[in-house]
């Protein structure tokens, strides 16, 4: 998938970004709501995980409706932060601010905004809101929960809201269009049981981390698990790097190489013998001479086949049939 966006004051630039989840969503013809769980594993990868989430949204078609439940920042701030990367696509997203006044402390404010959800503990009300929104947007749609760890923090039941949302969406009759849910989470903030429960109800799991082994610059690694209805799971790893533009807020991920089942290697492979003070390379002639040498342990390959047998010469001293003198004791 090629996602495009407009840089401020610059020409439109195409940045290639692809991910197995995109193909998986495209190929899925069941029109059933799926849960995609994007999981950030560490405090140091918060920014990268957020960019990945934005790349996901950037890759969606213009006809897709998106409802964004902001649980960690105000809708206005989230919109402003996302507009740099998503450009005009931000207008396609409907934001619901579930953070600024999550407990209704500012309920008496003069200018209440419809975009603000004022009772985060009202799970049933939130599900009703989402259901109503879905009825108004019957086409292909995505609902983003950013981030679910905060909901879990307030809800005593592990992953209590997610199953309810999925259940209500699946009850909706939609023969032609699917509404998927993207649940963003910080796994460090979830209890072990909650993290496990979230993975069990997810259809796709994308774990975000940093890879420092491949190059000097840390790459962003995603480990993707696609769980099929048949019970089979497909696991893959993808590596991405950030472009090195001066304006960091507009820098996107750039896919270096994605593979199925194996970690990708970034860029051209470097030659480890390039800067040595001595010569480790061979000329063509030296290579030929090297190959023509028969190594000692390979001599037997050239030896003629002959019949082999074991010859045993009986020795008089052999005491096979002697009786043991000690038996009489």
């Amino acid at each position: 998938m090629t996602s495009s966006f407009v840089r401020r004051g610059q020409a439109t630039k195409n940045v290639k970004f692809s991910h197995p989840v995109f193909d998986w969503c495209k190929k899925d013809k069941s029109n059933e709501s799926r849960l995609i769980s994007i999981q950030n594993g560490h405090l140091r990868t918060v920014v990268e995980a957020k960019i990945l989430l934005e790349e996901f949204l950037n890759g969606l078609s213009n006809s897709t409706s998106i409802l964004y439940l902001s649980l960690e920042d105000s809708a206005a701030a989230k919109k402003a932060a996302m507009s740099a990367r998503l450009g005009q696509k931000t207008n396609q997203i409907i934001f619901l601010d579930c953070w600024s006044d999550a407990y209704g402390w500012n309920a008496e404010d003069q200018n209440p905004s419809e975009e603000i959800w004022r009772d985060i503990n009202d799970t049933a009300g939130l599900v009703s809101y989402i259901t109503e929104w879905r009825k108004k947007h019957p086409q292909d749609a995505f609902i983003v929960l950013d981030h679910i760890s905060r909901l879990h923090h307030h809800s005593p039941a592990d992953g209590g809201l997610l199953p309810l949302i999925l259940q209500s969406l699946r009850q909706e009759v939609s023969s032609t269009h699917a509404c998927h849910v993207i649940a963003f989470s910080h796994t460090e903030l979830l209890s072990a049981s909650a993290a496990s429960a979230l993975e069990y109800i997810s259809d796709a799991i994308v774990r975000v981390s940093l890879d420092t082994t491949t190059t000097s610059q840390p790459l962003v690694k995603t480990e993707t698990v696609l769980r099929r209805r048949s019970g089979k799971s497909q696991v893959s790893q993808e590596l991405y790097k950030r472009t090195t533009d001066n304006v960091r807020r507009l820098v996107d991920f750039e896919l270096t190489k994605a593979s199925s089942g194996e970690p990708a290697k970034a860029g051209k492979q470097s030659d480890p013998t390039a800067n040595l003070t001595f010569n480790l390379k061979l000329t063509d002639e030296e290579n030929k001479a090297r190959e023509s040498v028969v190594l000692p342990y390979r001599h037997h390959l050239n030896a003629k086949e002959e019949k082999k047998s074991v010859i045993y010469l009986d020795d008089d001293d052999d005491a096979f049939n002697d009786e043991d003198d000690d038996l009489d004791i």
Binding site: L43, A81, E188, L189
Partner: protein, 249 residues
């Protein structure tokens, strides 16, 4: 105020200027309160309104530190303190009689409503966790963060240079690492910038007082495109703090 610390934190604002939540954590052997003093005095120097919620130290302590750094907090029009330790000041007693932290939030909100570029300093949040439930304290922190993120930014001189630049509101909060790990992590993920003061891994040293780890969870907005982060050794002097980088990770 502290030039070395200022250099490290200068890129911490992003272009959205949505309000910066700075979490300072420290341990028994490594006191991180110097970061609070840095934020108080650098913002006062830039004539930015600063409100200190003092739950750990007396106003006398902050005045003494201020005088060492060349400021008289008592005479500053930009500085106000909410003292949670004493009953003498009628404004300051409500911490004790507070039924719900919401009252404290409402007071704060009234103080800074429509102010530009406000700086709220909370010293320290552990007291709140001891006095109230975790849920109540988390709510309070969330609303304080929301409050500073809703304040408009202000154009002011930042640091030692005469360069004018947009400055956002800040919430600076000190937290001792005595709370449960789960609570610490939850707050850390809410923060935009985390400064952790710790004792040296190698043990006591005369030359170095501790190490400061800086982690930013927001995208940098500086033109140079450098991330804020890294690890530094710090040495506290009479009226200054020296920092030196020892590991970029």
């Amino acid at each position: 105020m502290f030039a070395d610390l200022h250099k490290i934190l200068v890129d911490s604002t992003d272009k959205n200027l949505r309000g910066l939540f700075v979490l300072v954590t420290d341990t028994i052997l490594a006191d991180g309160s110097f970061v609070l003093h840095h934020y108080i005095h650098s913002n006062l120097r830039a004539e930015k309104k600063t409100i200190l919620i003092s739950l750990d130290q007396t106003p006398f302590h902050y005045n003494s530190v201020g005088k060492k750094l060349g400021f008289n907090l008592a005479d500053s029009n930009y500085f106000s303190i909410i003292n949670g330790l004493t009953n003498n000041d009628p404004v300051c007693t409500y911490i004790r009689i507070l039924i719900h932290l919401r009252s404290l939030y409402v007071q704060l909100k009234e103080k800074i409503d429509q102010e530009k570029g406000v700086n709220i300093v909370l010293d320290n949040v552990n007291i709140l966790y001891h006095m109230y439930t975790r849920e109540e304290t988390d709510m309070f922190i969330q609303y304080c963060t929301s409050l500073i993120r809703s304040q408009p930014s202000v154009r002011m001189t930042i640091g030692e240079s005469n360069e004018m630049k947009e400055s956002e509101s800040t919430l600076v909060m000190l937290m001792h690492e005595e709370e449960e790990e789960e609570t610490m992590r939850s707050i850390a993920y809410s923060a935009d910038l985390i400064l952790s003061a710790e004792q040296l891994e190698t043990g006591y040293s005369k030359e170095v007082d501790g190490q400061l780890t800086v982690i930013s969870t927001r995208e940098p907005g500086s033109q140079r495109g450098k991330s804020v982060g890294g690890r530094y050794h710090y040495k506290m002097n009479e009226n200054n703090v020296q920092l030196s980088s020892y590991n970029s990770g």
